[in-house]
């Protein structure tokens, strides 16, 4: 089966071929396969060098110091480490956390876990564009609030929260601020010198790096304190134990360096492709945007195709286009997206929505094919629907 055009770059990205080449160097018997913790021989030294180079590359993209980067197995673990690590460290200080209703499950589920352990969590609502209200945030703050966790870019609708302002509010109240930046870093400028953020989760596989590796930025000045969540050997300044996966880390480093150099041109190109697609789709009646293009990262489009079953549309598109109805999920049954219902859509409307995301390997030709196919299949489904 010839593969369809991939338009699901928010779910995951392929590894850039140049990044895969870098990874390859750290694998086989003829490569630098050593354990970075092996201090007694050159295999270990070379591996350690690769790890530290990558640390600089990852730090570089967000303007952090290399020693502020802690390797993890992905943004899910980074979020867990940040949220559970900070609340555990400050358990005597308070047991209240503020987050947002449209966060990724990798933030919400740790919060639910905290609730089971006696914590209180405030889930801020969002407006129809997906943005939180800073006044509501202010009002939610209590004397026992120990952490605010707000994502930078939403993984379903691409909306960018104003984390500079959120951070300022957190700072003003002396509360630690964590940002899930899995979907922003590498796509839009992120500068921890400008953002008053204490902890930031980074993912590799959303930025053309390998899956299974991520990082947590942990500010040094002033130092963000947290309790490690995986113990055993004291790697990563004691914050995250476990053998470092050299090829994965080197891959993430290379991917971040590449993202940094491509961002200026890619962000324009992707915005153009997205606009082109939307221009075509807007010709159809009753197709609307979820969220707001104004606050959206380039390349991202979430549309509500009114009165047109989302699953059928996706299935009709399958031979030509690979897209999704929301975040990648673990169950067989299609659940309406809680992100879209938070914007005010009904369950049915949410189910009739598509997440389309273009990326580094999407061409203008792909977009033309996609637009044609989308229009055709929407019309075809509507043509046999009793609702039209």
């Amino acid at each position: 089966m010839k593969h369809p055009i991939y338009l699901d770059y928010m779910a995951t990205t392929p590894v850039d071929p140049s990044v895969a080449e870098v990874m390859w160097r750290y694998l086989t018997p003829t490569g630098e396969f050593g354990n970075p913790a092996s201090i007694t021989h050159v295999y270990g030294w070379r591996a350690k060098e690769a790890v530290e180079t990558a640390r600089e590359q990852v730090a570089g993209l967000i303007h952090a110091e290399p020693n502020e980067i802690i390797w993890t197995s992905g943004a899910t673990e980074s979020n867990n480490l940040a949220i559970k690590g900070v609340t555990e460290f400050f358990q005597e200080k308070g047991k209240h956390v503020i987050t947002c209703i449209t966060e990724h499950k990798a933030v919400l589920d740790p919060c639910r876990y905290l609730e089971k352990k006696g914590y209180e969590v405030t889930y801020l609502p969002v407006n129809s564009r997906g943005l939180i209200n800073l006044e509501q945030l202010q009002q939610a703050i209590r004397s026992d609030t120990v952490l605010i966790s707000i994502m930078h870019v939403n993984n379903e609708i691409g909306v960018i929260q104003d984390i500079v302002k959120v951070g300022a509010i957190a700072k003003q109240h002396g509360i630690l601020f964590h940002v899930d930046a899995a979907q922003s870093v590498g796509k839009i400028a992120v500068d921890v010198q400008q953002i008053p953020v204490d902890l930031m989760s980074l993912a590799s596989h959303k930025v053309y790096g390998p899956k299974g590796i991520g990082a947590l930025y942990v500010r040094r000045k002033p130092r963000a304190r947290l309790t490690p969540q995986i113990h055993g050997g004291g790697h990563e300044l004691g914050l995250r134990s476990g053998t470092l996966a050299t090829h994965q880390i080197a891959g993430m480093g290379a991917a971040f360096a590449l993202a940094q150099s491509l961002m200026p041109t890619e962000s324009i190109r992707l915005a153009h492709l997205r606009d082109l697609l939307w221009q075509q789709l807007a010709e159809l009646p009753s197709v609307t945007i979820n969220g707001s293009l104004q606050h959206c990262i380039p390349g991202m489009l979430n549309i509500h195709v009114h009165k047109t079953d989302g699953e059928s549309l996706i299935t009709a598109l399958q031979p030509t286009l690979a897209i999704s109805s929301g975040s990648a999920c673990t169950s067989a049954e299609v659940e309406p997206s809680y992100v879209l219902t938070a914007l005010g859509l009904t369950g049915e409307e949410a189910k009739n929505s598509l997440r389309i995301c273009v990326g580094r390997y999407t061409t203008e030709k792909d977009i033309m094919t996609a637009a044609t196919c989308l229009k055709e299949k929407i019309q075809w489904l509507r043509g046999m629907s009793p609702l039209w």
């Binding site: 059928s312 299935t315 009709a316 067989a332 046999m384 009793p386």
Partner: protein, 120 residues
């Protein structure tokens, strides 16, 4: 990821569309539920000549509509009356969480074939 039987019926239906000369039309489901099946048939001498569906819903719903339309054409109303959801479930190998499509179809066929004295 649907099986080939469902996908084939979904991707290449040949019985969708309006049927202006319909003898009977039946409809099950609702927009609120996220699925509607509508079937129109023409009947000649107790035999179903043509069946055309309209459907809104998941791929299994549409595939079921196509399957039922094909099934109906050429059968007598009596025969069609005996239609049971299990036949459709088996033929399309509907997964458990899609059995409701077959149940909808059974309702639909019942409505169509249970002549209530009035043509709709």
């Amino acid at each position: 990821m649907y099986n080939d039987a469902i996908l084939k019926h979904f991707h290449e239906p040949s019985h969708q569309g309006p049927l202006p000369q319909a003898s009977m039309i039946a409809r099950v489901g609702s927009e609120m539920d996220g699925r509607i099946l509508e079937m129109a048939i023409t009947v000649e001498q107790d035999a179903i000549v043509t069946a055309r569906f309209k459907a809104h819903g998941c791929p299994a719903t549409i595939a079921s509509a196509e399957w039922v339309a094909t099934y109906l054409e050429g059968r007598s109303l009596q025969e069609a009356q005996n239609f049971q959801s299990a036949q459709l479930m088996a033929s399309l190998q509907l997964p458990g969480h899609k059995h409701y499509c077959a149940l909808m179809a059974e309702d639909l066929v019942k409505q169509l074939t249970t002549y209530d004295g009035e043509e709709s």
